[in-house]
């Protein structure tokens, strides 16, 4: 009986993806793509809380025209009490050769617009952060349980390219809603779980658990490893052949190597000053620059959370979107520019998005103070895609006149997942895992590859 992929992994025990496997086994275990990939890796910038599409990437002149008036049609039940339509306080203008319109709080992203696909017709179902985030990250809006995350599925499918780093890295300066469920491997083997690294950690050695020894020198550790190698080799000789044993010894050497190599990746001081300045010294800027370096080092999936909690959740005052845009416009644009400069944009898929958009109506519930905010808006929202086989310089789909609901070419997180996997050379219907009596996949029974997004 051929070994299942799970058994192979167990036996050979490659802690970080499938790097420890011999090439022949890798292909046998399904860690080669199903077809030729356009993208080799993914960087997912997550603006947690809810980017207001009608104030950023989805211009709606009708909001100015009907400012203050009720939205036509039946009264919409929003999460909290909301009032009439509210015009955006920001101006939109066309950017680049493509002339895609972007609001003036994202000027630098605007300047890269010819590389970016703006999807304006995303929609989802749940009005709350947690299920919507789980939908975006795991393809399933479960209340209590968990499903494997997008990143976990990708690393399960493709393995990692780096021997000294996890295949799926999550950078977050705090805890987003849902915490580890957003990057969980769930029922996939735990080695595919996103490794949470705190990109606001003071020093590079704080970023990875147990990466540095507080007291022993490298020489002292080397001597320990030499002794361990003798002891373990003798043990292997004594118990005779056992396929599982040898990899334990190999993993120790990998760990030893990691101690030297991994912290360097997180040491942003080694980037030239002019590069660092373009990202700024904010948490998200540092996260984006680390993402670039991790991608360079061969990490398969990097997800960067904008911040702790749900910073983009502008219930009270839409002007806070401007503050957060100031902290993310430069980092997003710089990342795309630098990937291009380093020749990596072609095979790096960049996703920028959040769990839902914000209502075209003003929110005026009693929890607010300024009373110029917008509520959650799952029926219509925007995300950005770039690189990795994406056709940039276009806006795809549309919401209705007011930006409430995806109206033209509506697409779901399942479609996003299916398309992202497609770009990575994976057929989303074939990337499955047997658990609890059935085959599971990231897109469940949904998802369509959006051909119009592809270059």
């Amino acid at each position: 009986m051929p070994l299942s992929r799970r058994d192979t992994l167990r036996i050979l025990g490659a802690g970080f993806g499938t790097v420890g496997l011999a090439d022949g086994l890798m292909s046998a275990s399904g860690s080669t793509p199903h077809f030729a990939p356009r993208a080799k890796r993914v960087i997912f910038l997550y603006l947690n809380g809810g980017l207001s599409h009608v104030d950023t990437f989805d211009p709606k002149p009708a909001l100015a025209k009907f400012d203050g008036q009720p939205m036509p049609g039946p009264k919409i039940k929003t999460d909290r009490a909301s009032g009439g339509l509210m015009k955006s306080p920001f101006e939109f203008r066309p950017y680049g050769e493509s002339g895609v319109e972007v609001s003036d709080i994202f000027p630098r992203v605007g300047s890269c617009i010819d590389d970016i696909l703006v999807v304006r017709s995303m929609w989802s179902e749940s009005v709350n952060h947690l299920p919507s985030m789980l939908m975006m990250n795991t393809g399933h809006a479960l209340r209590g349980g968990s499903r494997p995350s997008f990143g976990s599925w990708v690393v399960y499918g493709l393995g990692s390219e780096n021997r000294s780093l996890p295949g799926f890295v999550v950078l977050c300066p705090g805890t987003p809603v849902g915490a580890a469920r957003n990057w969980s491997s769930s029922f996939l083997p735990t080695e595919f779980q996103g490794a949470l690294l705190r990109n606001n950690a003071e020093t590079p050695d704080k970023v990875i658990q147990n990466i540095a020894n507080a007291t022993y020198s490298r020489d002292e550790q080397r001597r320990q490893l030499d002794l361990l190698d003798r002891i373990d080799s003798a043990f292997v000789r004594r118990v005779g052949f056992d396929p599982r044993l040898e990899s334990n010894i190999e993993a120790m050497e990998t760990a030893f190597r990691m101690q030297t190599e991994a912290p360097g990746i997180f040491d942003l001081g080694s980037e030239p000053k002019h590069v660092r300045e373009r990202y700024g010294d904010g948490e998200f800027g540092r996260g984006c620059l680390m993402a670039l370096r991790l991608a360079e080092a061969g990490v398969r999936v990097v997800q960067v959370y904008y911040g702790d909690g749900q910073p983009w959740d502008s219930h009270d005052d839409i002007m806070t979107q401007k503050d957060h845009a100031e902290r993310s416009d430069g980092p997003i644009a710089s990342l795309i520019e630098d990937l291009k400069l380093r020749g990596m944009l072609d095979d790096t898929l960049v996703i920028v998005g959040s769990e839902f958009g914000r209502t075209p109506m003003i929110q005026n519930s009693g929890t607010e103070k300024v009373g110029r905010g917008r509520d959650h808006n799952p029926p219509g929202y925007s995300i950005l895609l770039a690189g990795g086989g994406i056709r940039g310089g276009q806006a795809y789909g549309a919401t209705d006149d007011f930006g409430y609901q995806a109206a033209v070419n509506p697409v779901t997180p399942h479609d996003l997942h299916a398309t992202a996997l497609h770009l990575l050379g994976l057929d989303h219907t074939m990337l499955t895992y047997r658990y609890s009596g059935r085959d599971f996949r990231l897109t469940d029974v949904h998802g369509t590859v959006v051909q119009d997004w592809l270059a």
């Binding site: 735990t190 118990v239 120790m252």
Partner: protein, 881 residues
């Protein structure tokens, strides 16, 4: 969007003109014969005719049926062929009597019996029934007639057929280490090992087993296996951090105790599902057993976990549609969900009623006193704002004098009779421009170009006027909002706040008002330091006069007294109880909770019930469900548990998918053996310890883990049990416990509330806090399961992140250092004696000459601590052979 059909459904169900029999005997067969080929799964024209919902919803042309109105119903127009375009069925004209059936049915209200909708689907075909897992447990004749040799009879027969040779028996040192880890989760002490090696009697092995089975740590080890299945945790998962379940540990301790006292497994099951419904005498002190489900608060998860844990059936797969592979219709899921949704979470206090009342009352008094103080301080704060705001012009002029004329702020404040701190706040505020409002722009323009004091005074006065008018406007708006919210009470209720449309002043005017008056706020990422005139409860006292201050002090002293008087929280159990009015769950069509179908009577699974399945009669039906699960008629429960125990002993079950005995699960490698174990188990009165001993006494368990090349070629996965499956890496808890055990620091005390697994915590890992939202990173690293879900097996990953733990983790190094100290204390100063002691403690054996030499050589130039760390990181310590 609300579905119009649902409203109609309610209206219809109150009609009783047509009997269900009429529908079942006339209408459904007609629809099935003439319409379903196009209007069930194929949904041609968007129309389905196999549920009332879909009939009422209709297809692309609108509703197919309007109950009570045959003449307006599209269905009738189509079959009568009076419709312009629709003429159905396309290839056949219905007979007059057939049309009349439909007409009568619609005229009488289109009654669609609640259960009828799925009765057809619930019929289980003989083929589906014909599956090994559903067949009765066959009483197996033990090979050779000797029950003691039964297991080996079955296993060896398998080996013989495959032409495989069994590995030789393991040596005694290997056996005691294997048994100790398997049964207790701890390594044997050198003294225990020595005693066992010295016992050359024929009963030595059996005596060892008996000793281990009666150890209190036996229950701890088995309980941890069980807790994986029960998705046990000490908190409910939430957005950022667990909501604590402070008494969850009482369930954990109950499970430990249950295994230790060998509580019969059938009772063990019934108590966990329905202890509250048992007669007092039978219930005993077992109410804590309800934690199995009460610690996870989702009805659908309870159905799924019940199915997988006790029955090895994936009932959860039937939540959205009939199970695709197993004979579990969708109605079965909702029949069981009704049981759990007729149950509400309930805390059973473990204290006398007076104690509970006293605690609640004392807490209520603290709450009220705190509210009274808050209200008083809010009023004082608002008054102070009014008072200070009237001096705004003076503050502005004073700020100008300090900032532009170089005056001393203290002197300026004293001369003008202004509060110094407030003046400093004004100075800081004016310096931090620009602001989010334009109202100070004129002021800045004026003072920047060098205004005269008179000009400044005039501008300041204008600004004060403006500020006061905004303040008045804001107070008026607040006043109206107060009414909309329903007064102070409404304004304190989150739900009212969320759902009330309020008025607001212009945002720019608000910004100015906020900058003067609002409390400090730290919205995630964007701090607001607080309004210039805002003095919160901790800052306001210095403004209060004698009488007021005295009042506040008295009230605060009273609050302190009341807090002091609150007794410690009383213990209670997280549990549940039946609702007063149990209700059947309605089937969610395609799993969509917004699209509910008929209610399904509460009952057990069709495949495991008599024909037809009888609805439960008592309350929610939970006790009947529990009894059905352990009924002798049900072949699954005993098989599933016998298989789990086998899995815990051999590393893999006879069915390797221990929570899925269905079509997609694996078939048993030794079906006769499994049935033999299951029937022995039931015959013994469901004794877990007896079953365990039977397994442990087998030769199969006692084999060495040596790989025999020829066998490996033929059966690399060891499915036929030609060798013992070694433990590839100690699991998370065993690793931590073993480290503490060999370092000598372990605290083996039992039970009680959980603690964080901090480095200084030396209790067994089982007693550490299990967190659902933020799992312990070290446990996580070693594949501790997700405590949100039922976990039938542990993953065993071995990778560099774990190796980093061995290299650098402070806890790991602490144990290395403690082990080094222990060696010195136990074995004195001679290196050989210490190395021998270390090998006995860690590996249950003596070192050979080369090992002694290597150790001596190492500690000749390096530390004992680092030597011990290497031994703890060695494969021999981290695996069990």
């Amino acid at each position: 969007m609300r579905h119009p059909a649902i409203a109609v459904l309610f209206a219809v169900s109150s009609l009783s003109a047509a009997s269900p029999d009429f529908f079942e005997s006339k209408v459904r067969p007609l629809l099935a014969a003439k319409c379903y080929s196009c209007h069930s799964d194929s949904e041609m024209g968007g129309l389905r005719l196999d549920s009332l919902e879909r009939v009422l919803q209709g297809g692309t042309r609108g509703p197919a049926v309007i109950p009570g109105e045959p003449s307006s119903s599209l269905l009738l127009a189509a079959v009568r062929r009076t419709h312009d375009e629709l003429k159905m069925p396309p290839t056949e004209v219905l007979s007059e009597p057939e049309v009349a059936v439909l007409e009568e049915w619609i005229a009488d209200g289109a009654e669609w019996p609640a259960t009828g909708g799925s009765v057809a689907a619930a019929q289980i075909s003989p083929e589906a029934r014909d599956f090994w897992a559903f067949e009765a447990v066959r009483t197996q004749e033990a090979a050779g007639g000797d029950p003691a040799k039964a297991i080996d009879g079955f296993v060896n027969e398998g080996l013989r057929k495959a032409g495989l040779e069994a590995a030789p028996p393991a040596d005694k040192a290997t056996l005691i280490r294997r048994l100790s880890f398997d049964l207790l989760g701890l390594p044997p002490t050198p003294e225990e090992t020595a005693a066992f090696l010295a016992d050359n009697s024929a009963e030595a092995y059996e005596r060892l087993i008996d000793r281990l089975l009666s150890s209190p740590h036996y229950g701890e080890r088995l309980a941890r296996h069980w807790l994986d299945l029960a998705r046990y945790a000490d908190g409910q998962s939430a957005a950022y951090a667990d909501t604590p379940l402070p008494n969850a540990w009482r369930y954990r301790d109950w499970v430990i105790h249950a295994f230790n006292r060998d509580l019969p497994y059938d009772k063990f099951v019934v108590l966990q599902l329905a202890a509250d419904l048992l007669p007092e005498a039978e219930r005993g002190e077992n109410l804590a057993a309800l934690g199995f489900h009460a610690l996870r608060d989702r009805d659908d998860d309870r159905v799924d976990v019940t199915g997988r844990t006790f029955l090895g059936l994936t009932i959860g797969c039937a939540q959205c549609h009939d199970h695709k592979f197993d004979p579990i219709p969708q109605t079965d899921f909702y029949a069981m969900q009704g049981v759990f949704s007729s149950t509400e979470d309930h805390r059973y206090p473990l204290a006398p009623a007076e104690e509970v009342e006293a605690y609640d009352a004392a807490n209520q008094r603290v709450k009220e006193q705190r509210l009274a103080i808050d209200l008083f301080l809010e009023k004082e704060r608002d008054q102070l704002i009014d008072v200070l705001m009237q001096r705004t012009a003076d503050f502005l002029v004073a700020s100008y004098t300090v900032a532009y004329r170089g005056a001393n702020p203290q002197q300026v404040a004293d001369q003008a009779g202004l509060d110094r701190e407030t003046l400093d706040r004004w100075l800081a505020y004016l310096k931090a421009r620009p602001h989010e409002h334009p109202y100070l722009d004129d002021w800045y323009a004026l003072v920047d170009r060098g205004a005269s004091p008179d000009e400044a005074r005039q501008a300041a006065s204008d600004f004060q006027q403006l500020l006061l008018s905004i303040h008045l406007e804001k107070l008026a708006v607040d006043d109206r909002n107060y009414v909309k919210l329903g007064g102070a009470e409404g304004a304190r209720t989150q739900r009212t706040l969320l759902n009330t449309n309020l008025e607001f002043i212009e945002p720019v005017r608000y910004y100015l008002w906020r900058d003067m008056t609002a409390p400090p706020a730290k919205k995630r990422g964007l701090p607001f330091v607080g309004g210039v005139y805002h003095y919160g409860s901790d800052q306001i006292e210095r403004f209060l006069g004698g009488l007021w201050l005295h009042h506040l002090e008295v009230q605060k002293a009273e609050l302190a007294r009341l807090k002091e008087a609150v007794p410690p929280p009383y213990p209670f159990l997280h549990a549940y109880r039946d609702l007063k009015d149990p209700k059947d769950a309605r089937l969610a069509i395609r799993g969509d909770r917004k699209n509910l179908g008929p209610a399904v009577p509460r009952r057990f699974l069709t495949i495991l019930s008599g024909d037809p399945p009888k609805p439960f009669q008592q309350g929610s039906g939970r006790l009947e469900l529990a009894r059905a699960i352990v009924s002798p008629e049900n072949p699954l429960t005993a098989r599933v548990f016998a298989n789990r125990l086998w899995q815990w002993r051999f590393g893999r079950g006879i069915v390797t998918t221990p929570s899925n005995f269905g079509q997609l699960g694996e078939r048993p490698t030794h079906p006769e053996l499994l049935d033999w174990l299951a029937s022995e188990f039931v015959d013994s009165g469901w004794s877990v310890k007896e079953l365990d001993k039977t397994i442990l006494m087998s030769d199969a368990y006692r084999r060495s883990s040596t790989v025999l090349a020829a066998n490996f070629e033929a059966d690399p996965d060891n499915r036929l049990l030609w060798r013992f499956n070694p433990v590839q890496r100690l699991d998370a808890e065993t690793l931590r416990d073993a480290l503490l055990a060999v370092s000598g620091r372990i605290d083996l005390s039992r039970g009680g509330p959980p603690q964080d697994l901090a480095d200084e915590n030396v209790r067994r890992t089982l007693y550490g806090k299990v967190d659902r939202t933020n799992p312990d990173p070290s446990l996580d690293l070693f594949d501790f399961p997700d405590a949100k879900a039922h976990s039938p097996e542990r993953d065993v990953t071995v990778g560099p992140l774990q190796r980093l733990y061995y290299l650098n983790n402070p806890f790991f190094i602490q144990q290395s250092s403690a082990l080094a100290e222990r060696l010195a204390a136990d074995a004195g100063s001679g290196p050989d004696a210490r190395i021998r002691r270390a090998y006995q403690l860690l590996f249950s054996r003596k070192p050979d000459g080369a090992e002694l030499a290597a150790g001596r050589e190492y500690v000749g130039t390096d530390t004992w601590e680092r030597y011990c760390q290497v031994l703890l990181a060695s494969s021999e310590f981290l695996t069990v052979r």
